[in-house]
């Protein structure tokens, strides 16, 4: 048996090489597939690159065009803010309510959890988006149900006022993974907290606001940030279910960016759009983090 060499310097020197060897795939990917493309995208956003010719430097023209001459840009921005602003809270509130209900159920909880999680399992697939288009079509199941109980039917996908709601419902329907995270959070709250507060005479509603919600805030924070980013970057539902229509009422930001880049080959403009999006997401994430100081409670603070 050999003792561990006391020569610390030699040891760390060795470990540097080994450490970098282990993380080298990450470093190669980071530089070639993330850092370089991001800087390249910044450069392109100041050019008129159309994929065929060479990029010409046009300064801030793309940004100026976007903010002052392109009503479609503003429309897509409005649609995306509405979509993320409505769909994300709906999904989170729904997920929390269902998790609370599931937490009360003792038997068959596994079966319910599985059934309620299923929509999220298949939610990312194209099949579900296609199905949604048919479900809310004029002859689809939704209208068919309304008709069978004597309610008026509606052209859900053809009406600019309702089309976006079909996408919001699709997003809300996939509440399963948020629900699982909330459920795990609820299980982590010590039972003694509830017992102690009932001795003090607190009812279930009071317990919900003084124990459950405060202790769940770290989970709520995490869920909110991930969902806001996901909501802002949604593409497939609007591309497949409505293709942005009618009259751009479901033209989510990424769909418009995709159209600019891969239908008009307006690569410079689309890159500028990507940068505006990144700035918006960064601001939002920072705001949520900043505000979290006021509403997120970590257990270590309490002690």
């Amino acid at each position: 048996m050999k003792p561990v060499p006391p020569n610390k310097k030699l040891n760390t020197g060795n470990q540097n090489v080994t450490g970098y060897a282990f993380i080298s795939p990450f470093l190669i990917g980071l530089f070639s597939l993330t850092l370089f493309p991001i800087l390249y995208s910044l450069y392109l956003s100041f050019t008129d690159f159309d994929l065929m010719g060479t990029p010409n430097w046009i300064g801030l023209d793309n940004y100026q065009r976007m903010f002052t001459e392109d009503p479609t840009f503003w429309k897509s921005m409005k649609v995306t803010f509405f979509y993320a602003g409505v769909a994300v809270p709906i999904r989170l509130v729904f997920a929390l309510l269902v998790a609370l209900a599931l937490n009360k159920v003792v038997e068959m909880v596994g079966l319910y959890r599985t059934l309620l999680y299923l929509p999220s399992v298949v939610g990312g697939s194209i099949a579900v988006s296609i199905m949604w288009r048919q479900l809310f079509g004029n002859d689809g199941a939704f209208n068919s149900i309304l008709a069978s109980i004597g309610l008026p039917t509606h052209s859900w996908l053809g009406d600019p006022d309702t089309a976006i709601w079909t996408l919001i419902v699709l997003y809300g329907w996939q509440f399963g993974s948020s629900m699982l995270i909330f459920l795990a959070g609820l299980r982590n709250i010590p039972k003694t907290f509830y017992e102690a507060s009932s001795v003090d005479g607190a009812g279930p509603i009071r317990q919900f606001f003084i124990i459950t919600i405060p202790l769940l805030t770290p989970v709520i924070l995490f869920n909110t940030i991930m969902q806001v980013i996901q909501g802002f970057m949604a593409f497939t539902p609007s591309f497949v279910v409505t293709n942005g229509g009618p009259v751009n009422s479901t033209l989510l930001y990424v769909l418009y960016m995709y159209q600019r880049a891969f239908e008009y080959f307006d690569m410079g403009y689309a890159s500028a759009m990507a940068w505006v999006m990144l700035v918006i997401i960064a601001i939002f994430t920072a705001l949520i983090f900043k505000s979290s100081e006021h509403w997120v409670h970590y257990e270590s603070d309490a002690k």
Partner: protein, 280 residues
């Protein structure tokens, strides 16, 4: 007292059960539509029981379009998914071990960089990556879909790292005293112990690759090379579809692998999400 409890329980199960059924109704509707005759799909379309069971939809749908069967599309999806998953798990495991167990200069900075990459949406690098891969002549090949996974997936790295951290350091030290070097410790001690975390990552990787739509949409142009997701979108073009039954049949088949994986490996998926808070 006891009777009251039973009533309460019954109400609970009726409410929970009907809510759950309502939530999975759209999925059941898709499967049931795949068994209806095309001309009947949109007659009383909310009904879940076909007036006449029409299994031929599956044969019609399988024939695909433009002379390419869905067999080709399923095979393409399988190739892309399997290679990308193997690549991402091997690379992510190496990287995770490096971050979790080895002390080296600059580790903190690279770790922060990795966490930032995890939050960076793919859409940010989509356009420059496309231009890059276009220059390499990789358009209409699987390289842009597969190669990036060999550089590690930040979420999997993070997930595996968290798992490695639960393994006591004493194990590594004992192995070192027995004469193992870092690579021996990694392969003989750590890897066998982190198989559950690797499994969870592999399942997520399978989901994401199988469902991936934007990547193939951007990079592939020859229908023979399409994966199922892209083929299904083309197959379901609202302006040309008439055979609705066949379309629903192929939609159902396309999510079948996801269902199978889910039911076989449910435990890993639920644990993975609950412990790390990640979307599926």
């Amino acid at each position: 007292m006891k009777k009251k409890r039973i009533t309460k329980k019954t109400i609970q199960h009726v409410l929970m059960g009907s809510f759950a059924l309502m939530m999975i109704y759209p999925l059941v509707w898709m499967v049931s539509s795949s068994l209806k005759k095309s001309e009947n799909v949109f007659v009383n379309s909310h009904s879940l029981i076909p007036s006449e069971w029409h299994f031929a939809n599956y044969i019609d749908g399988w024939n695909g379009f433009a002379g390419i069967t869905f067999g080709t599309f399923f095979w393409n999806s399988t190739i892309i998914t399997v290679i990308a998953t193997v690549g991402s798990i091997i690379s992510s495991t190496f990287i995770a071990y490096g971050f979790a167990r080895i002390k080296f200069a600059g580790k903190k900075i690279w770790f922060v960089a990795m966490m930032l990459t995890m939050m960076l949406p793919f859409e940010m690098v989509m356009i420059p990556q496309y231009i890059m891969f276009n220059k390499f002549g990789w358009i209409d090949t699987y390289l842009p879909l597969i190669l990036p996974t060999f550089f590690g997936i930040p979420f999997f790295i993070f997930l595996i790292m968290q798992f490695i951290r639960t393994i006591p350091m004493e194990l590594d030290e004992a192995a070192k005293i027995d004469g193992c070097n870092t690579f021996d410790i990694f392969f003989r001690i750590i890897v066998p112990l982190i198989v559950p975390a690797m499994m969870t990552s592999a399942i997520f990787s399978f989901y994401w690759r199988w469902d991936d739509f934007m990547g193939p949409l951007i990079y592939l142009s020859t229908p023979e090379k399409y994966p199922v997701s892209l083929a299904l979108k083309l197959f379901s073009d609202p302006n040309s579809v008439t055979n609705w039954g066949a379309m629903f049949a192929m939609s159902t088949l396309s999510i079948l692998p996801i269902f199978i994986i889910f039911f076989v490996f449910q435990r890993y998926i639920v644990d993975g999400i609950s412990s790390t808070g990640m979307k599926a």
